[in-house]
């Protein structure tokens, strides 16, 4: 969908922001650009909608060279979400979202109706539409920013550290929402971040940049974590990259058995057979039951916290299906790792 072909960007002050970049961003996928500041990831993103012009090389969106199109029209066809949302402070939330449809000449009524629809899509209450951006929380503003980018239903969405300025709890929520939205909308998303965890969570493919604008490695998250191309990538992914890999594997294949009876600790269920806590003669430890789609990392974490080393497994409704042992989880995690590292 988006192709970089031998793209070079040198700024007038002589610094090279992007060095000989050739990269393919597939249609309907999330490509995350990561790297420390000054590595050229934001410049790369901004060259797609011509907020920055390449010095040489070509960039194609949907097969068409971006520099051969009218810049303003090109930008209207590409959604853009900026850090700290960049909303217009003098326009209501609804009018902010309606910006691009209005520029495209859709007419005020139609543009507002579309904006109202999008409020719901991004999980905001209808009455938020009449407010001004400064009356919303940071997380809400960011949702408006996403809604604004989606308003004209562009096939491509550029996101420049969109969740960088909100607290970790809200950030996780916004990431979940983005993943949910992406399942429905199937946009081609280019996402810039310096947060490795965010990259691993969101990316279908991750491109790691090194200072000087060099692309070091572009691969799927599990491939990247299992087989980093060099020490730079390994360092960037951090010492826990093995655990991060486990965050991508699910619990589904770990065997489960019946809950033990008669030991020092008993798994207490409520009347609907949902696990409540582990109980001994004089203590109760809360239990966090896991579903099949939860990650191996979550399972490992829960098994360490459990007094028996067992984790409670539940179905979609939260009803107990069985327990898995620390050993089984551990064995499985090790296998997953080895498989990933020797995979072709």
């Amino acid at each position: 969908m988006i192709q970089f072909d031998a793209v070079h960007k040198r700024f007038p002050n002589g610094t090279t922001a992007v060095h000989d970049l050739t990269l393919d961003m597939p249609e309907g996928g999330v490509t995350v650009l990561v790297g420390s500041s000054g590595c050229g990831k934001t410049t790369t993103l901004r060259m797609i909608n011509r907020m920055v012009e390449p010095t040489s090389g070509t960039i194609r969106v949907g097969g068409k060279d971006v520099t051969r199109q009218d810049a303003a029209e090109l930008r209207r066809s590409i959604g853009y979400v900026i850090q700290q949302s960049g909303l217009f402070p003098h326009r209501t939330v609804l009018d902010n979202i309606a910006t691009v449809p209005l520029l495209l000449g859709h007419g005020r009524r139609k543009a507002r109706a579309r904006a109202a629809e999008l409020l719901e899509t991004v999980g905001l209450a209808a009455d938020a539409g009449k407010r001004y951006p400064h009356q919303l929380s940071g997380g809400q503003q960011q949702r408006v920013g996403v809604a604004r980018a989606l308003a004209a239903d562009p096939p491509v969405l550029l996101m420049d550290e969109p969740f960088g300025a909100v607290d970790p709890v809200v950030r996780t929520q916004l990431q979940d929402e983005l993943l949910r939205l992406q399942k429905e909308l199937n946009k081609t998303i280019v996402f810039v971040t310096h947060d490795v965890d965010e990259a691993v969570r969101l990316g279908d493919q991750i491109a790691i940049f090194r200072t000087g604008g060099h692309l070091v490695q572009c691969a799927t998250p599990s491939e990247l974590l299992a087989r980093p191309a060099d020490d730079f990538v390994a360092d960037f992914l951090g010492a826990e990259r093995g655990l991060k890999l486990l965050s991508l594997k699910t619990l589904a294949e770990v065997p489960q058995g019946p809950a033990p009876e008669g030991g020092a600790w008993t798994l207490v269920l409520d009347e609907a057979d949902k696990p409540v806590h582990w109980a001994s003669q004089d203590a109760e430890i809360p239990v966090r039951p896991l579903k099949n789609e939860d990650s191996l990392l979550a399972a490992l974490n829960e098994s360490v916290a459990s007094p028996t080393g067992l984790i409670a497994r539940v179905d979609a409704a939260g009803v107990l299906t069985g327990v898995s042992s620390r050993d089984d989880i551990h064995t499985h995690a090790g296998q997953a790792h080895t498989e990933a590292r020797v995979a072709v």
Partner: protein
């Protein structure tokens, strides 16, 4: 000093005419001041090297004594309302130009960037994003320029205009305080009312600045 109330009641028509003429002169000057400042401010805001030049020039114009300006204009536009309005307009420029430039400067770079990235062209960005956001600072300038012009109109009495200022010369020449006092009070009232109206206009034009109830 006593006020001769019967003089006032005997001259209500004249007073109304003078007040209207006074206000007209001041508002026309502010109008033309804005008309000239807005494009100049946009140029000064966008072209850095011209900024100092334009602002400096408006400062220099401001230092010319008001009477001197009217005298300098006499050979060109004579003893007319035009001379009054040109003179006053020159004075509004310094405030209006500076405030409009500062207003445009105060628009966050992030917001302009967002407008561009959404595909808004430069002229539309100026009209629908930059000027509205600069409005509070521009309006502060308009308020100062308006009040200043209202107080300056009287100086044009020297060239036979001057609105309520004519009451001052009349009173001084006849050593009769009533017209002078009435002139001062009416000028003050005009300034206060005009300023209040501008505050109201700004309130209506900037709904995003209002505190939520």
């Amino acid at each position: 000093m006593t006020i001769d109330w019967s003089w006032i009641s005997g001259h209500t028509d004249d007073l109304t005419t003078l007040t209207v003429s006074h206000l007209q002169a001041a508002l026309t000057a502010v109008f033309f001041g804005l008309l000239i400042s807005l494009p100049l401010a946009v140029v000064a805001h966008r072209v850095r090297p011209l900024r100092g030049l334009l602002l400096g020039l408006s400062n220099i114009l401001f230092t010319i004594p008001s009477i001197a300006i009217f005298v300098l204009l006499l050979p060109i536009s004579g003893l007319t309302r035009t001379t009054t309005v040109i003179g006053l307009t020159v004075y509004t420029l310094v405030v209006l130009l500076r405030n409009t430039v500062e207003g445009l400067d105060s628009v966050p770079a992030k917001t302009k960037e967002a407008a561009k990235a959404m595909g808004t062209r430069p002229l539309r960005t100026l009209l629908t994003v930059e000027l509205p956001l600069a409005l509070p600072v521009i309006m502060a300038g308009v308020r100062i320029a308006t009040v200043m012009s209202i107080s300056l109109v009287s100086v044009a009495t020297y060239i036979g205009d001057g609105g309520l200022g004519q009451l001052f010369t009349d009173g001084f020449q006849r050593n009769y305080p009533t017209p002078v006092i009435v002139g001062v009070v009416l000028t003050l009232l005009l300034a206060v009312v005009a300023d209040a109206l501008l505050v109201a206009i700004q309130y209506v034009l900037t709904p995003w600045k209002r505190r939520r109830a």
